[in-house]
């Protein structure tokens, strides 16, 4: 009986699929365009739809190309830092750290212990809010609107802290070459502890909402699967690559800023589908909270700027006290920071993956060429292969899970 039913099913499904030979006239061309709730404003895909399935999709980018690289060539190094804020504007401090670390390595500048701990702490805090926004908006695109507020409320409290520390909520511009722009405010540790608990409450609320929610599971499990080889070939790094099961994290493979002394582990997915990419981010938030708690214990009072004269401004009494301080102050301000001539490529583990800066310096005040290696470009390059064959509703779920941030995508 079942064979008959089975064979009928084949004939039935073929009977159901009406067009046997492929004909272009049956396709509907739709612009899943730049101004669309799910494309975060600046991504566009021209889709050829056969019914609901996307037969062919042409992604397009460049709608937020603001000329970051050309602007960096006409500004001195210190003034390039605010431009790096606007690359991945969900986690601005990570871009600052990426840029300043590259320049400091070029200048071979020794940065004090407290600055390293604060940088690690701030990077992990920014990784949390980046993941919160990514998962929050991804679930909103899937229709789970309450998660938007579960994700955004703890994020607002993190923003309160960031605003107290560096004066701006989103574009913090907090890191300087050789140190920090200002020190932490007193009472910072207790507030961070309170916020971490709030983040954990938000994350657990979100997980309770979607854990065995059939709609969520149906719409994300083995949707937009990318195998490990394809992920590597697309140059994927960060949570999306780890969701495909490849263990690659710069904080472990090429540790910087003492990451090898912190104990945290890498979160790995197995199937490389949208479900894994969302859950990898949930668990990475837990790992980041572990790191922040350890970093808080290591915070010791100390200088927040390196003593290296080529980079740091002398203290005020030196500037007004003697002529050497005044000359040093004058030279740093007027001639800026002069890294030696040469090229460098330095990478850090940002929220979306490996954020690398290739800086070419001609010894002058302005960088000769700055190229930002943005993980979002690689994530979006794989988008065509991910959506073709799937339904248009899956394309929205996949786009949310690869977290394409337009600022660093189009630079």
């Amino acid at each position: 009986m079942s064979e008959v039913m089975q064979s009928q099913k084949e004939s039935n499904s073929s009977a159901l699929s009406f067009h046997t030979q492929k004909d272009r006239k049956d396709l509907v061309f739709v612009n899943f365009g730049p101004s669309h709730p799910a494309t975060h404003g600046t991504l566009r895909v021209l889709c050829a739809l056969d019914g609901e399935t996307i037969v062919a999709g042409i992604p397009e980018m460049g709608y937020l190309h603001r000329g970051f690289e050309k602007d960096c060539e006409v500004h001195p190094y210190t003034q390039c830092i605010p431009y790096t804020d606007r690359l991945n504007y969900l986690s601005a401090i990570m871009n600052n750290v990426g840029f300043c670390k590259a320049v400091e390595t070029m200048l071979n500048v020794e940065i004090p212990e407290r600055v390293i701990t604060i940088r690690v702490l701030m990077c992990e805090l920014n990784r949390i809010i980046d993941h919160l926004v990514c998962v929050g908006t991804n679930l909103v695109d899937l229709g789970a609107l309450t998660n938007f507020w579960y994700a955004f409320n703890p994020r607002e409290s993190v923003y309160n802290i960031l605003e107290k520390v560096c004066g701006a909520r989103l574009t913090s511009n907090y890191i300087r070459i050789g140190g920090l722009s200002r020190d932490l405010y007193p009472g910072f540790e207790t507030e961070v502890e309170a916020v971490l608990d709030e983040v954990m409450v938000g994350v657990e609320d979100m997980e309770k909402m979607i854990e065995n929610n059939r709609i969520f599971l149906e719409r994300t499990q083995n949707i937009g699967v990318l195998s490990a080889e394809d992920a590597i070939s697309f140059g994927w790094t960060g949570p999306t690559l780890r969701a495909s099961g490849v263990e690659s994290d710069l904080r472990k493979s090429e540790p910087y800023y003492g990451y090898e002394t912190y104990d945290f582990d890498i979160v790995l997915g197995s199937a490389g589908d949208t479900y894994d990419r969302i859950y990898v981010r949930f668990y990475e938030i837990r790992e980041s909270i572990k790191i922040i708690r350890q970093a808080l214990k290591r915070l010791k009072p100390g200088p927040i700027m390196t003593a290296d004269k080529r980079v740091a401004l002398p203290p005020k009494e030196m500037t007004y006290g003697n002529i050497e301080g005044l000359m040093n102050h004058f030279k740093n301000i007027m001639h800026g920071i002069l890294p030696p001539m040469g090229e460098i490529y330095d990478a850090t583990e940002a929220a979306n993956g490996e954020l690398g800066f290739h800086i070419v310096s001609d010894g002058g005040k302005n960088p000769y060429r700055v190229k930002c290696r943005a993980p979002s470009v690689m994530n979006y390059a794989a988008y065509q292969q991910l959506i073709e064959g799937g339904m248009i509703a899956d394309a929205i779920a996949i786009l949310g899970s690869i977290n394409v941030v337009a600022g660093e995508l189009d630079r």
């Binding site: 099913k9 039935n12 067009h19 509907v28 612009n31 899943f32 365009g33 730049p34 494309t39």
Partner: protein, 125 residues
């Protein structure tokens, strides 16, 4: 129509009149009060901001038959639920008779549903 029956049904007529009146009033009001500029760009299809010069498809196409079938299935089972409402209101008066009659009605539709399930009409591929 004796007055007693009219008495009971009259609120229904009021509701019906209101239901007709309100949309018509709004349409007339908006025609006079709302400012209106009908230039061709404004009336063009919304393609997420891309100027669609006709080559982006309109929806008049031969579609896969499964969409039509799903609409039919929904119609059948939605009407079935519709009949449950008056039955649920009246159900308290005579429980045994009500239950048996609805059992017959639901049973017939259950066979239809089971046939569709086994026929694989609900798989969406």
């Amino acid at each position: 129509m004796d007055s007693e029956l009219l008495q009971r049904v009259f609120p229904l007529f009021i509701a019906l009149a209101l239901a007709l009146l309100i949309p018509i009033v709004f349409i007339i009001l908006s025609r006079f009060m709302g400012p209106r500029t009908n230039d061709p760009v404004k009336l063009s299809a919304y393609e997420c901001g891309i100027q669609s010069k006709g080559q982006v498809g309109d929806a008049r196409h031969r579609f896969n038959v499964k969409f039509y079938l799903v609409a039919m299935f929904f119609l059948i089972f939605d009407v079935e639920v519709l009949f449950l409402f008056p039955w649920a209101v009246w159900f308290q008066n005579d429980i045994l008779y009500g239950f048996v009659s609805m059992l017959g009605f639901l049973g017939i539709l259950f066979f239809g549903w089971y046939y569709l399930l086994k026929r694989g009409a609900f798989e969406w591929e």
